[in-house]
Amino acid sequence: MPRPKNILEKIWDSHRVFQKEGYPDVLYIDAHFIHEVTSPQAFDVLRKKHLKVLRPEKTFAVADHTVPTIDRKGPIKSAKSARLINALIKNCRDFGVKNFFPLGHPYNGIVHVIGPELGISQPGMTIVCGDSHTSTHGALGSLAFGIGTSEVAQVLSSQCVLQYRPKTMKLKIEGKIGRGVTAKDIVLYIISKMSTSGARGYFIEYAGTVIRSLSVEARMTIANMSIEAGARGGIISPDKKTFAFLKGKPFAPRGRDWGRAVNFWKALESDPEARYDKEINFDISGIEPMITYGTSPAMAVGISGRIPRAKDLEAGEERKALKRALKYMGFKEGEKMIGKKIDYIFIGSCTNSRLEDLLSASGIIKGRRVSPNVNVLVVPGSNKVKKEAEKLGVDRIFIKAGCQWRHPGCSACLAMNEDKIPTGKYCLSTSNRNFEGRQGPGARTILASPLTAAASAIKGEITDPREYL
């Protein structure tokens, strides 16, 4: 009998083109996503070496990181953004990349939102992109990870990437999901326990009854933030929900191919006796909606909790990091998070901009007005999400409440377009990183779920979403 394997090993072994002692594996890539920020220098490598893109049909290009979210009719105002986007257009044309979804294309959106929603990302695939949140696609049972621009050049020219097989970690999540607790809260809780380097060197497989109970969209939120625990990626064995999610998607298999694909996908599940380099169990019963207080996603507490005190932490680097973070955030040790004033709310990003996220936030917002003291940006993850939300009247709920309803893009998650948070201002954000200056120079980011964002928008201060449920 063959050795039992986990899903990561199964996918890795079936994509290994070549293996040699002392050399990294040559790993074949099924889908390569590129965007305007991390690809131009890679195409330059190909130009310099007079190379072609080996498999343009397996390359999917989209402009998302720097695109404007307000006015999409005229030319792009920022000359620098325009240069990046035009470079992507030219590169796709010069190198024959036909799967290109520019602004205005019905398939345009954040790369990690469109991959799954178009059915490009499928179980058992290897997927890379020059973006660390590529781990998102792992929620569908694909082996997906972020790469650097040098590696983008590797994939463009050879459809392969040189990689050592990462260690595997099984992260089992059990327990009862509390009221007002979403996938975002679960993943923030896990990161707060594991630290931002807790999974460094590992690829996580999420398992357990909680994962099974979550929707595919919610699973994406968890897989998305794997990198925030230091992991290379996160993967979830596909199940009926995954297959139902993919069925009928534009790039998903059809007809006879569909049945064949599902049979193949079913066999991907980790074998019961599969081994891992590390196994961790989390019981999430009793956790609250989570909120960050510092400048790393691991600096998070339950929403009714208090900011830790330095004396309660280990002496040394941890205390120093807390002090530095609180100074930046303008918070004090031991303070309560609830009731803190907020200036901006950002509902969006590859973590929380899918239809389910917008629906959950709009459920709280519906029939209410947001506080006049907050500026609320709602940025759907893709044109498709936007259209579907508008069909359901979600846009009108947000607009009526006083929120801004924008075009899709990465937007204020990393502030590479005009959507920046001003210096010193507080932004409660459904995105994934609260690093210093992430949302603009001097901006102070507080990470939370779409539910918490919606509740806080109404009061203009950090609010427990359970008040509105």
């Binding site: 990294p24 080996l54 720097t66 972020g146 040189l162």
Partner: protein, 190 residues
């Protein structure tokens, strides 16, 4: 690259993320060059930041653990190189940053926590202390202090750095194998 011998710049902070190394707004470039000015952009505005301290300079950056966590932006590595760094010494690196460094000839040197502390101390005592990193023997040493430690590096990447080999060239030398792999898979799928 075989050996780096230089003074060093200490930055004893853990978990330095890529947004600190270079903020996203400076990634709006189609080139790799010219990013050195933007390295540690926010922190550099403070006169007390180590890059503004005339006592410290050199081709080696010595930093706290989990350096380079966060995004996959290779611009972080390009900025460090463009500024003039050729090696980063730390107790640990974020995975993608580590690969990006090796892929660009910025040598990431992983040392023990204890050794890292000793280097920080040596630099505090004497900002002009020289550090030698020998890639061939995989040894980092502070000759003046009689400190040395061996570091690990992937043998393939070591070869690339020493001989100036290139990943893309290596992969394309295996193109026949790649095409054969594709054909085999297609047959299997029917």
């Amino acid at each position: 690259m075989k050996q780096i011998e230089s003074t060093a710049v200490p930055l004893p902070i853990e978990n330095i993320d890529t947004d600190q190394i270079i903020p996203a707004r400076f990634l709006k470039t189609v080139k790799k060059e010219g990013l050195g000015d933007k390295l540690f952009y926010i922190w550099r505005k403070k006169p007390s930041f180590v890059l503004n301290n005339k006592n410290y300079s050199g081709e080696i950056l010595v930093t706290g653990g989990n350096f380079g966590c966060g995004s996959s932006r290779e611009h972080a590595v390009w900025a460090l190189l463009d500024y003039g760094f050729r090696a980063v010494v730390s107790s640990s690196f974020a995975d993608i940053f580590y690969n990006n460094s090796l892929n660009n000839g910025l040598l990431p040197v992983r040392v023990s926590e204890k050794f890292l502390k000793m280097i920080f101390l040596a630099l505090k005592e004497n900002p002009k202390v020289k550090i030698t990193i020998d890639l061939n023997s995989q040894i980092v040493l502070v000759p003046g202090k009689k400190m040395k430690e061996r570091f690990e590096i992937d043998p393939y990447k070591k070869l690339c750095l020493i001989k100036g080999y290139d990943d893309v060239d290596y992969l394309l030398s295996l193109k026949d194998k790649i095409i054969r792999f594709e054909k085999k898979r297609k047959r299997r799928k029917g």
